[in-house]
């Protein structure tokens, strides 16, 4: 269980508050207007942002003071998920050997396997710059898979991809997360992504993190704060 208790983060001129608990293996979408604090929420879970008060925990363990690299979390950023000067293989190897050592036989097998799962078989020698946007996303996902951590955070991922590719990638994430049994928290702008991917929706609006609601229920009866936001953003 990922728990956020009485969290309070002071942002430029406003604050983000709320409490939350998310079960392992769930797929959760975080929705809300721009600047409401969606990315800040992810940063809090990942440890890039320290709490002004409150606590973060995972299955009974207190994460509040842990630095990002000690948390059971892997992240896909909007971009910059791969080191541009390293080959795909080297990038993926870092997930298995964060000390930069050479690959063992087993590592090689696992990396090739992961690349195959995301449809990049045979591409391990390429550098990210020579891959298409979709391929880069796949490689990054393969990395997350190899990291095998119980929490996966997605910060508006695949936003540079076309709708069809994006749908494909979300399906892939779902599959990967399923095989890892990982909790996925995805920040997104697009209600369609949430509908297609998430089991629960967490609304972040007006400085408050709302409690998770089942996706179908959320869209069947959207909260007022969400309607305001969709309304204004469509106007």
């Amino acid at each position: 269980m990922l728990t956020l208790e009485n969290l309070n983060v002071v942002m430029d001129g406003s604050a983000l508050t709320g409490s939350l608990s998310l079960a392992p293996g769930r797929r959760v979408a975080v929705l809300g207007p721009s600047g409401a604090g969606k990315s800040t929420l992810l940063d809090v879970i990942a440890g890039f942002r320290l709490l002004d008060s409150g606590a973060v925990g995972w299955s009974g363990k207190d994460l509040t003071q842990l630095p990002p690299d000690k948390r059971p979390v892997s992240i896909l950023f909007q971009d910059g998920n791969l080191f541009p000067h390293l080959t795909v293989f080297r990038n993926l190897l870092l997930a298995l050997k964060p000390n930069g050592r050479r690959a063992s036989q087993e590592d090689q097998v696992r990396i090739e396997g992961a690349l195959k799962r995301v449809g990049l078989a045979g591409m391990s020698g390429r550098t990210p710059g020579t891959l298409s946007g979709g391929q880069q996303s796949r490689a990054a996902l393969a990395r997350v898979m190899l990291q095998g951590r119980p929490i996966i955070l997605l910060d508006e991922p695949f936003s540079a991809l076309g709708p069809a590719l994006k749908a494909e990638m979300l399906a892939l994430v779902r599959e990967v997360a399923g095989s890892l049994g990982a909790l996925v928290v995805m920040v997104t702008h697009a209600p369609a992504d949430a509908r297609r991917f998430a089991e629960d929706v967490v609304l972040v609006a007006e400085g408050k993190v709302h409690l998770p609601v089942a996706t179908a229920a959320f869209f069947a009866n959207p909260p007022e704060a969400y309607r305001d936001y969709v309304g204004t953003s469509q106007a």
Binding site: D69, L94, N99
Partner: protein
């Protein structure tokens, strides 16, 4: 964290090497010395000429760097390398080259006389500034150029697609860059010029151009007044620290974010006017910097062909060894200090009077070892220290950009410090590191620094050999040795700089 410990150690060593020698000199002298009437004038002149030199070096570097950044022509990279050469010339050689161009009998006056124009007199405040700009314009240009090339091509594409006017583009893309780089470049040049002595005196035309460093020299070598020398040295140091702090305050820290690292053709500066302007700027800078250099080469040629004697070759060997060792040391030192505080600390180091530094080290070492046997190691350490501010000025912005661009990815991957250093940091910093290492090597080759205080006959370096030859009427051999020095410095610079650039595009 281990990284932090390394950074603190590096900073402590640097602070100790800066303040230790002053302290040693002070202890030996038994107290501070008093100021004299002429000191205030010397101080005023020192600050004024350093301000003007820094200002003109940076102001002129802006159009030159901009022209070089957006024009591609045959021989461009060679020209960029060559333009760095004045900065690495030993002072006495450069001054002779400048006089050969701008002096009473120089090229400019020969041409002026043929055209019936007025005679140009180089000696005076303008001469001092001319020489300092000659030395430092290349440094400022390279710093700006480096940053200019680091703006992701996507930003220029964006500017082009938005149809920004040249002025609009200047304001959105180039002005932030200048604001980020220029204050630091100015501070470094200001501080270099603070300790100027031989250049200021020779081209300043006499005692009007007295600097604080000359007063230190006089106190040290003629009056044996160590307290006064240490007091003046601290004054110099204080000016440098103030300049450094102001510069760091003025320079905003943010970078331009990550690009995809692809070379994207530039869309700006396509009209005829920008083209002509850029061409003129490049030509003017090349002529200003390369003609004196060419004369140094010409004058040194006969002496070099004559062989210059065994001492010159031995000295050359020492210089290359010192340069390589200084470079290695400087890079090791620079990596943990590539941050704001480290840079400020290092700026203080170059403001240290070489005489006081050398004397202080002599006093510190003497109880333990024979200082003469330490001549080359001490020179290595001091040269590494003197090159540190330049290395940091070049490395820091890029190092911070790497941290900013990939720091989160590093955490999420749980990369160890060593893996980060080896796989990301060093490869990403290859280009600036090559440049910094080349600069360090060349500076260490050309620096007379403290060796003059320590060197025994078998341990001379090439710059010292140049002075020794001149002192023995061997002007031709000295010019030859100077040319050898130029060739070696430049070769080292080129090798490192090139090494950093080869294959650094992906």
């Amino acid at each position: 964290m281990a990284q932090r410990a390394v950074a603190i150690t590096a900073a402590l060593v640097l602070a100790l090497l800066t303040l230790g020698p002053i302290a040693a000199v002070l202890v030996r002298s038994g107290g501070l010395g008093a100021f004299r009437p002429g000191d205030l004038e010397a101080l005023q002149f020192t600050i004024w000429q350093a301000l003007l030199s820094g200002f003109f070096s940076v102001a002129l570097a802006i159009p030159v760097a901009r022209a070089l950044a957006r024009r591609h022509f045959w021989g461009r990279s060679l020209l960029v390398s060559l333009l760095g050469a004045p900065f690495i010339l030993p002072v006495i050689v450069a001054v002779m080259g400048l006089i050969a161009v701008f002096g009473q009998n120089g090229l400019v006056n020969t041409v002026m006389a043929a055209l019936g124009g007025p005679k140009l007199d180089i000696y005076g405040l303008h001469g001092v500034i001319l020489a300092h700009v000659f030395f430092n314009l290349p440094l400022a240009t390279r710093m700006l150029l480096q940053a200019w090339l680091a703006i992701p091509g996507e930003r220029f594409r964006l500017a082009a697609s938005m149809g920004l006017s040249p002025w609009g583009q200047f304001l959105t893309l180039e002005w932030p860059l200048i604001r980020r780089i220029a204050p630091g470049a100015f501070a470094v040049i200001f501080v270099i010029c603070l300790t100027s002595f031989a250049v200021a005196l020779t081209l300043g035309g006499g005692p009007r151009a007295t600097t604080v460093e000359l007063a230190i020299y006089q106190a040290m070598r003629f009056d044996f007044d160590l307290g006064r020398a240490a007091t003046l040295a601290m004054l110099q140091l204080a000016m440098a620290v103030i300049a450094g702090m102001i510069a760091l305050k003025l320079a905003p820290a943010q970078g331009f974010g990550t690009g995809r690292g692809r070379q994207v053709p530039r869309w700006d500066g396509r009209g005829a006017v920008p083209r002509i302007c850029d061409t003129l700027w490049i030509l003017a800078a090349a002529a200003f910097l390369l003609v004196p250099l060419a004369l140094v080469v010409l004058r040194g040629f006969p002496g070099l062909m004559a062989g210059g004697g065994m001492g010159t070759w031995v000295a050359a060997k020492h210089s290359v060894m010192v340069a390589l060792a200084s470079t290695a040391l400087c890079m090791l030192w620079a990596l943990p200090l590539a941050n704001r505080r480290g840079e400020l600390l290092s700026v203080a180091a170059i403001a240290m009077s070489p005489l006081v530094l050398g004397t202080g080290l002599f006093l510190i070492l003497r109880p333990f070892v024979n200082p003469f046997s330490m001549a080359l190691p001490v020179t290595t350490v001091v040269n590494a220290m003197m090159a540190l501010p330049f290395a940091l000025r070049i490395l820091r912005p890029e190092a911070e950009a790497v941290e900013q661009d990939f720091g989160r990815l590093r955490s999420t991957l749980r990369m160890t410090s060593l893996a980060w250093l080896r796989l990301v940091w060093l490869p990403r910093l290859r280009r600036p590191m090559g440049f910094a290492a080349g600069l360090t090597a060349a500076l260490a080759m050309g620096d007379l620094g403290v060796i003059a205080l320590f060197a025994d006959p078998d341990r001379a370096t090439l710059p010292l050999q140049v002075y020794r030859l001149m002192g023995a009427y061997q002007m031709e051999a000295a010019a030859g040795a100077a040319l050898l020095l130029l060739i070696l410095s430049f070769s080292l610079f080129w090798l490192f700089d090139r090494g950093g650039r080869v294959g650094a595009d992906t």
